[in-house]
């Protein structure tokens, strides 16, 4: 090991430590906590459809639907799209009103590498619902820093 390499190791910048400096997958609890607090999150009701393999992270089509009657008593308040690898985890947030119909949204996301995409919905009874999808991204949308 040459002196330069040894110095890097000493500074914690060796191979083993280097991924810590770059983008990392944020654990689920840490990712959801800013939005849901300590409330429980359940699987179900939300359905996230996204291709398992995305050639290009710049433009990843996805579709989210939430099973809800959308009445004044029982409707979806908001829907969040989260990424556990992007530099900014919140990709989009949607809010619905009494005039909204069935929650069925399509859009195109920008993903900074292979990761898990989270669709998180809050219904009017205050409960949080979740669906996740794994996506393999061949070409990341983050070419500069991550």
């Amino acid at each position: 090991m040459n002196p330069r390499r040894r110095l890097l190791w000493a500074l914690g910048l060796g191979w083993g430590a280097s991924p810590a400096l770059f983008a990392q997958h944020v654990p689920q609890e840490q990712l959801l906590q800013p939005y849901v607090g300590f409330n429980p999150v359940q699987k179900g009701r939300v359905k996230l459809e996204i291709a398992r393999l995305a050639d290009n992270g710049f433009n990843v089509p996805l579709k989210v639907s939430v099973a809800s009657p959308m009445t004044a008593q029982d409707h979806v308040l908001r829907l969040l799209l989260l990424s556990n690898r992007n530099p900014r985890p919140l990709m989009a947030a949607f809010e619905f009103g009494p005039g909204s119909d069935q929650v069925l949204i399509s859009t195109r996301a920008r993903l900074g590498g292979s990761q898990t995409v989270y669709a998180l919905a809050q219904t009017s009874d205050g409960l949080w619902w979740l669906d996740t999808a794994e996506v393999e991204v061949t070409e990341s949308a983050c070419l500069d820093q991550t």
């Binding site: 710049f58 433009n59 990843v60 959308m70 799209l81 990424s83 992007n86 530099p87 900014r88 985890p89 919140l90 990709m91 989009a92 947030a93 949607f94 809010e95 619905f96 009103g97 005039g99 909204s100 119909d101 069935q102 929650v103 069925l104 949204i105 399509s106 859009t107 195109r108 996301a109 920008r110 993903l111 983050c142 500069d144 820093q145």
Partner: protein
């Protein structure tokens, strides 16, 4: 004025939903990129998009850098009667855009 395309698939019956498809021409700059001179390109994304039907807000989207350039959005609104649907959006540079469509329920 931002260039955009709006497609409306009107409800077949008053109880049915109207599908709204919107495509906006916008770079959705993340703020993480650098130009050829090495200086950072400032973040500029469409951060808010609202839909009003007959003056009442029916949908609101808060977008971020995690949405692709030239953002596309498809959603549903309830149109119990004919009326005007107005979509408005604003980006970080303060530029705004709007698109409107008259929804007529023929039955």
């Amino acid at each position: 004025m931002m260039h955009s395309r709006l497609q409306i698939i009107p409800a077949k019956l008053p109880s049915h939903m109207t599908t709204v498809r919107l495509l906006i021409r916008h770079p959705m700059e993340t703020g993480f990129r650098f130009n050829v001179n090495g200086s950072a390109v400032s973040k500029n994304v469409i951060h808010t998009l609202t839909a009003h039907f007959e003056g009442k807000q029916v949908f609101k989207a808060t977008l971020g850098s995690g949405i692709s350039a030239d953002p596309f959005l498809e959603f549903q609104v309830r149109t119990p009667h004919s009326g005007e649907l107005l979509l408005q959006w604003q980006d970080d540079a303060g530029e705004t855009g709007e698109a409107k469509a008259l929804i007529s329920l023929s039955n």
